[in-house]
């Protein structure tokens, strides 16, 4: 019996360690992709695009490991929350890595075009903020720090405001003929990638809160839907919080 528990804990530790490592690779790839975008480094873009295959494989393996633990060990309580959260986090990380790849692909499309310095400045800031978000998110996960995880959402609002500022600036730069339409469209999409990376960081931090306290985000949409169809079974809540 003891051996089984030991294996189980080893597997759980391995899954957590892999989340932390995937998170570190992702965090590092954000400034790397930005440097590629701003310097038009096509070789670097190819390297990151290819590296994503390994990332995908690793996150798929991580999920498989979690399914195995679920099937063979049937964990409960905190351990169960841990496994469920890791399965979800693996998806978030994988999707975020795809967005980083998308930034590299955009670098290929705008290669050779000049980017207005003001836009370059805002891109750097968005990248820094997205990286900071993931850095803090992964720290919160590693340290099981629910308070730090809860702060990520607030940090993300700055990235959102940078995104809005960037879109506004694209219109201005375009109307002053500082960038052509093709670049303007590509850059608008790139800005969206950074903004989405930030959202994924918020999702990961919510999963961390779920692991530590069982907290689940309020499902306002579900209750609106229930009210609309006349369902009177009461408010939908997932009550998993620890007592």
């Amino acid at each position: 019996m003891e051996q089984i528990r030991k294996d189980f804990h080893n597997d759980l530790d391995a899954a957590r360690a892999e989340v932390i490592r995937l998170g570190a690779s992702l965090t590092e790839s954000i400034p790397r992709a930005t440097a590629i975008l701003l310097s038009g480094d096509l070789e670097g873009a190819d390297y990151l695009v290819q590296a994503d295959d390994e990332f995908d494989a690793r996150s798929a393996e991580l999920e498989a490991l979690c399914f195995e633990i679920l099937a063979l060990q049937a964990p409960v309580a905190a351990d169960l929350r841990q496994i469920i959260a890791i399965i979800k986090i693996a998806g978030e990380l994988e999707r975020s890595a795809d967005l980083v790849v998308n930034i590299c692909k955009a670098a290929r499309r705008i290669y050779g075009h000049n980017i207005d310095p003001i836009l370059r400045g805002v891109i750097s800031k968005m990248s820094e903020q997205a990286q900071k978000l993931f850095e803090s998110t992964m720290e919160a996960f590693e340290e099981n720090d629910a308070a730090k995880a809860a702060a990520i959402d607030d940090m993300d609002s700055y990235l959102d405001s940078l995104h809005r500022q960037f879109i506004q600036q694209i219109f201005e730069s375009h109307s002053n003929s500082k960038i052509d339409l093709q670049v303007a469209v590509q850059l608008a999409v790139v800005a969206r990638f950074y903004e989405r990376i930030g959202d994924h960081a918020v999702n990961v931090s919510e999963r961390t809160r779920f692991i530590v306290t069982g907290w689940v985000r309020k499902r306002d949409g579900i209750n609106r839907y229930k009210a609309r169809i006349g369902d009177t079974t009461g408010e939908f809540t997932l009550n998993l919080e620890q007592n």
């Binding site: 490592r21 570190a24 965090t27 590092e28 440097a35 370059r120 750097s124 850095e135 590693e142």
Partner: protein
């Protein structure tokens, strides 16, 4: 238990020998076979000492067994960079190295991690007699940066000099046998301008070495206030032509000890740059003040700005942020490195704060000189930046 301690002891002693004297494998093997000599002197105290020595090293040292279990990590190996995600990536690379060496052999790789600037970490591994695996991690960022600067300098220097020489040769070739006066004039004019460009670069290079080797014998007390007035008035014309407002504000009696003409050319270079990289309608301001025991001069523009990745390289000789644009602005590529040399020679410092699209501020701090004969108020000591 004692056996394990003994083994680890032998290995760590070997590790130190390997690290410090970089002995060959053969020598390490000899040391390993000479176990009996070590046994007698190996005590717990020796281990403590050994760990302390290893913790003192800046190189990360990790010892693992054949099943990839870490047996020892020194302090440096626990937090190599202090940046959490980079440290995790290093851990991962170390584990990969250990796995790769589980059977035997040696390995080496360079890990590149982007954290603000790019960090380079060299990871070396060695399987010690199929029993333990030793991995070392070394931060070689500074070393590789120096290498890049050197190779870039040589490449850029030859490029910068070869371009005008090539042009002169081609133009002279066309001139040979040309009879039409207008064409001859045009070609000759181009030859003159290209040779001037080359002369400018050579002059700038000579300036650089002159500043490096010039002593402090000729230094006098220089008031920077009139120097700045002169800099601004000589650049005013160029600023007006580009539609840029150039302003000067600040304190008087900014005395420093130094070479007036060098200081003048340094500040002039910065103002000239600020104008070059501003858009028409922009503002370039020069402001000066005394902060503590320092004279602080800030030159601010609202131009294109410099991205973070270039900021720590722009003072290098011939370093270009945007090669195409530099050709258009006609610089030698040596201006900023001359400025930096002058400021450092005068015991000062130069910093840059810049954001792309917002502008740049170059701040120069020089030691404030208070001569005993003047009636200047004495500066309160203990106040510094």
């Amino acid at each position: 238990m004692g056996v394990v301690y003994f083994l680890i002891g032998v290995l760590l002693a070997t590790a130190i020998a390997f690290l410090i004297s970089k002995r060959s494998t053969r020598e390490i093997q000899l040391a390993l076979t000479n176990k009996s000599a070590v046994t007698k002197s190996t005590t717990r105290d020796n281990f403590v000492q050994l760990f302390e020595i290893l913790d003192f090293l800046e190189t990360g040292v990790i010892v693992a067994d054949n099943n990839s279990n870490h047996k020892f990590r020194n302090k440096a190996a626990i937090a190599m960079t202090g940046i959490r995600y980079v440290d995790i990536l290093i851990d991962q690379a170390v584990d990969e190295m250990i796995k790769q060496l589980e059977q035997e052999g040696t390995g080496s790789r360079i890990l590149e991690a982007v954290a603000g600037t790019t960090r380079f970490l060299q990871i070396r591994g060695r399987n010690l007699k199929n029993e333990y695996i030793l991995v070392t991690v070394e931060d070689i960022t500074a070393k590789s940066r120096i290498e890049t600067v050197q190779t870039d300098f040589v490449a850029n220097l030859s490029h910068e000099l070869k371009t005008p020489i090539g042009a002169v040769a081609a133009l002279a070739d066309s001139l040979n046998g040309e009879t039409e006066t207008a064409v001859v004039w045009r070609l000759a004019e181009r030859i003159v301008s290209e040779s001037h460009r080359m002369a400018r670069i050579v002059d700038a290079l000579l300036d650089l070495s002159r500043i490096e080797f010039s002593g402090t014998e000729d230094w006098t007390e220089v008031d920077l206030a009139p120097v700045l007035v002169e800099v601004v008035s000589t650049n005013q014309h160029a600023a007006k032509r580009q539609g840029i407002e150039l302003s000067l504000t600040g304190a008087s009696h900014l005395n420093v000890l130094g070479d007036r003409s060098q200081l003048l050319s340094g500040f002039s270079n910065l103002v000239d740059n600020a104008i070059k990289y501003s858009e028409p309608g922009g503002i370039v301001s020069v402001s000066s003040s005394i902060v503590g025991q320092l004279v602080v001069v800030a030159i601010t523009d609202h131009g294109i700005g410099i991205s973070k990745q270039h900021q720590d390289r722009i003072f290098e000789r011939f370093y270009r942020v945007d090669k195409a644009r530099s050709r258009a602005t006609g610089g030698t590529g040596l201006g900023l490195s001359i400025v930096r040399h002058i400021v450092l020679e005068h015991g000062g410092s130069i910093d840059i704060v810049s954001e792309e699209g917002i502008g740049s501020t170059f701040t120069i701090r020089l030691p404030h000189f208070v001569s005993e004969s003047t009636d200047m108020p004495t500066i309160t000591t203990g106040v510094s930046l």
